[in-house]
Structures are given as C-alpha cells and as structure tokens.
Amino acid sequence: MREPASEPSVLREPASEPSVLREPASEPSAPTLPEPLTTMASPFRMDYTYVAGTGRSVFLRGLAEGRMLARRCPACAQVYLPPPEFCSRCLSRLDEPFELDGRGVISTFCVVSFPFPGQVHEPPYVVAHIQVEGSGTRLMHLVREVDPADVRIGMEVEPVWAGEDERENSLTSIRHYRPAGDEYA
C-alpha cells in the first residue's frame, strides 16, 4: 500500500468542476451535510441441512429407542459416547455399537444464570459434563431435580428418559440427568 499522499491531492478541486455536480446557489462552498447516522441493521437469515454422518447417526437412532450406544476403538480401546465413525486418536474405524446404562458421575459443571435469545430453559440451571460409566469420553447434559447449590463434581447421576412416544433422534430423548447417589435415592 502506498503512503497517503502528503500533498492534498485527494482534496484537490478538479480543474473544471463537472457541471452535473449540484452546487446550491445559496451555498457556493460545501453543501450542508446531514447529521451522520452511526449504525445500520445488517441481518442475515440462512437455511441449512445438517448432516449427522454415519457414526453420529448410530448414536442418535439409539436415543430414539431409549438406548445409549457407545463404540470402542479396536486399536487403542478408547470408548466414545457419543461415538463418531472414527477414533480421533488413532483414526481407526470404531467397533460395533454396544449399550451403556448411562449412569455416571459429574466431571465438571456450570450454573447458567443469564438469559439469552432463544434460551430453552429457565435460568438458573445446571449444565454438566458427565463421565458415563464404561465410556472414555464425557457427555454434556442438563442436571435437574436438585438445587444447583447442591451439585458437585463427582456426584453420581443417572439419565431421565423422555416417554417412549416422545423419543426421537435427538439428545432431548434424555430429558436430563438427576442425582443417583444414595443420599438422593
């Protein structure tokens, strides 16, 4: 990029002003300028198709049947839940799906207290990473049926499934997780 011209060349009056430039007779110099606006609306709306992929589809179909399906890597033994098609550590195709009961412990969580557009749940609510027993990865879901102040890392939790007629190919087939330890039994 060139240096900005130190000569005021960009401001120079053309030798002969184009006649079509309207110079109001009453104001022989610069025209009166309107007060500048500072913002403009700039909305976008876009429609897409989501493609889940073969691996993720196995998991989503399982949810519609009320089953939580994991898959194991034949090479490194990592168990994925939800499982993709390939192991992201060693890139092997994962083995056949098998079912887990979904119980696990909270590995970390946060309490969502702020509102935002499109929010589905009324704050405050708990979103947690759940280490499902038998899986080497963590599943993110809501934790309910407990005061957010009582949630803690290491708490045992279990899935609460939606009714059979409400289940679909979605994580919403699990309504939420809830405490499963003796203290809440």
Partner: protein, 146 residues
C-alpha cells in the same frame, strides 16, 4: 431413511446484527433519507457510493460532494426477481456511473421486466423509497430517465 445412512435435518441460522458505519458512509445514509446523494473525493475523482478509504491510495477519502441522483449504465446483468428484491418483477443488476463521478454504483434497474430495454450507456435516475430509514434500500432502484 435406511439403516446405516446418515440422518439429516433442516435448520435455520439468523444473525440480527447491527453494524456501525463510518463517518462518510453514515452521512451518505443520512443523505439518502433526505433524498440527497453524496459522493466522496478520492484520487481518481468523486466516488459514489462514498468509500471511507481511497481505493487507490488507502488514505482517507476527502470531502463529500452532493450529486444529482442520475447516471449512466456501465454494465448490467439480468436477474429473476425473488421475494424481498428491490424490484418485484425481473430486473437488472447494474453498475451505474453517477454523473460527475469516477467509478460506478451497484444497484438494481427497473425496466418493467423487459431485458430488451436494457442498454449499456442508457440514462437512469434514482427512484426513492417512500419510507426511508437511512440505508442503501432508501434507493428503491434506478429507473429509466426520460
């Protein structure tokens, strides 16, 4: 959906952005609201719409000058009208050289849905919107100048 195939589903994204504008663009939009057209001085001459920075030097553009809302079609392409387009029947997208400027202005040209009426070099003028808010759509489109 057969077993083993991938699931797919439609969804929609919306970005309700509000965007800040620069001082020259802000004045240009305010001018449109008043049915006035401004360009900015740059090295090559007046550019309309006014850019904040000179496309040739990168320096800030110079003073704003008021222009007659008319010009000449430099290039055009024919388009089918979609919902929400500037013209409700098929129209041209065109680069219009506003009189007294160096360069051209991208906008729609309405010739009554008849592409045979479009010509490079034809004279056009701004058709102003009735309900102007201070953005580019305050110019509804360009139309054939008598």
């Amino acid at each position: 959906m057969t077993e083993g195939a991938s699931l797919s589903a439609p969804y929609t994204l919306e970005f309700p952005f509000e965007r800040t504008v620069g001082p020259k663009i802000g004045t240009f939009f305010a001018g449109l609201k008043e049915r006035r057209l401004f360009g900015a001085r740059a090295e090559r001459g007046v550019v309309c719409p006014p850019l904040e920075f000179d496309p040739d030097t990168g320096a800030e553009t110079g003073e704003l000058v008021e222009l007659a809302p008319a010009g000449t079609v430099a290039t055009w392409t024919w388009a089918r009208s979609r919902a929400g387009d500037p013209v409700a029947r098929d129209f041209a997208w065109a680069l219009v050289a506003i009189d007294g400027t160096a360069g051209s202005f991208f906008h729609a040209v309405d010739v009554g849905g008849d592409p045979s009426r479009m010509q490079v070099g034809m004279r056009v003028r701004v058709r102003w919107r009735g309900d102007r808010v201070g953005d580019l759509r305050d110019i509804e489109c360009f139309e054939v100048a008598p």
